[in-house]
Amino acid sequence: MMTNSGARLTQGQFSFLPDLTDQQITAQINYALEHGWAIGVEYTDDPHPRNTYWDMYGNPMFDLKDPAGILREINECRKAYPRHYIRVTAFDAARGWETPRMSYIVNRPPVEPGFSLVREERDGRAIRYTLRSYAVDKPEGERY
């Protein structure tokens, strides 16, 4: 039985929806800019859900007024890493938050093999479960 037959990675916002168009991404960036959040573009090829710290593409972008510059950055990242996961995060520096307020995937590999369930047998017939992406069998940079 396959519960997620497409094996699409579901992390962050909008991940159960079809991929966002550039127009929709622009609207989301605009929302973040209106709130004064700093926006970063990040990429990775390790889709494990606990892999929180993705590599940042360029610098985080502060003090911008318009999404056009960020969309340009996203497209440059897509050009450099066409088969990686790319996400956009919006960081809120306001006291009390100091955390990303938005995070959504804007690029994914053409084929996502999904995860296997790994069972580890422990003492006394105990079993520990963990997830492992089929993609990470290959070394970094050759996974997708």
Binding site: G58, N59, M61, L64, K65, D66, P67, A68, G69, R72
Partner: protein, 304 residues
Amino acid sequence: MSAQSPLQSASAPARIDLAAILREARVTDALEQLDHELVGLAPVKTRLREIAAFLAVEKARSSLGLASGAPSLHMSFTGNPGTGKTTVAQRIAEILHRLGFVRKGHLISVTRDDLVGQYIGHTAPKTKEVLKRAMGGVLFIDEAYYLYRPENERDYGQEAIEILLQVMENQRDDLVVILAGYKERMETFFRSNPGFSSRIAHHIDFPDYSAGELGLIAAGMLERMQYHFDAAAARAFGEYIERRQRQPHFANARSIRNALDRARLRQASRLCAIQGPVDAQALSTITEQDIRASRVFGEASRSE
């Protein structure tokens, strides 16, 4: 059916009132405000009206489905220092925003330092960073001719110019670039960078102010600072302007502002020297002696 109503309304407006476009976008207000606040600059104001009219026509054309490519709006402002280039750039950003040709309408003012890096590979990210900030608004490059240094062929300015040109061409609807600087040096700059010249649609020249206009500017500045000249001081300041204009390094309105600032300094030290209380009248009056103490008068009398 509700689906029919947009079709009907779309076919209705075969005529478009251009004045209404300008009025609705509050462009007329912005132009009138410019007329009020900026003294002189008649050719600049005429050019701005023309540009506003052109943009309104473009807008009307596109709403009637006529061909209207995104117009090239990059400009060059040439003129001596203190002739109001930055102020006008701010207004243009506002007008373009109101007509919907830039999305946010902010003005980013930069010079060579903000665009050109200090070592290899530093320039491109720096320029791109500035361009990103300027997206949706107006990028004002003051003293743009410093970007190009012909005497040093390894100067990084060339790299910044190339990135600028690329963005000016490919992202015309994302930002408007205004280059500003002295007339002669800008002309040399455009001659040696023909790429810029051909991408700039509007060359606007800012004339120097006449003595009378400078007097009006001074009066406006004083009014905003809540000071005033007494009769003798006004006469003396008229004389001051004429003498100052003949001296080197005259920077039009900026020189006038500096002259007024120094007059206020002298007024302050004069008032502090007086024993006893002063009233509001004394605190806001600049007298003849505050003006006459200027170096401009001193040098003239020495040379005569």
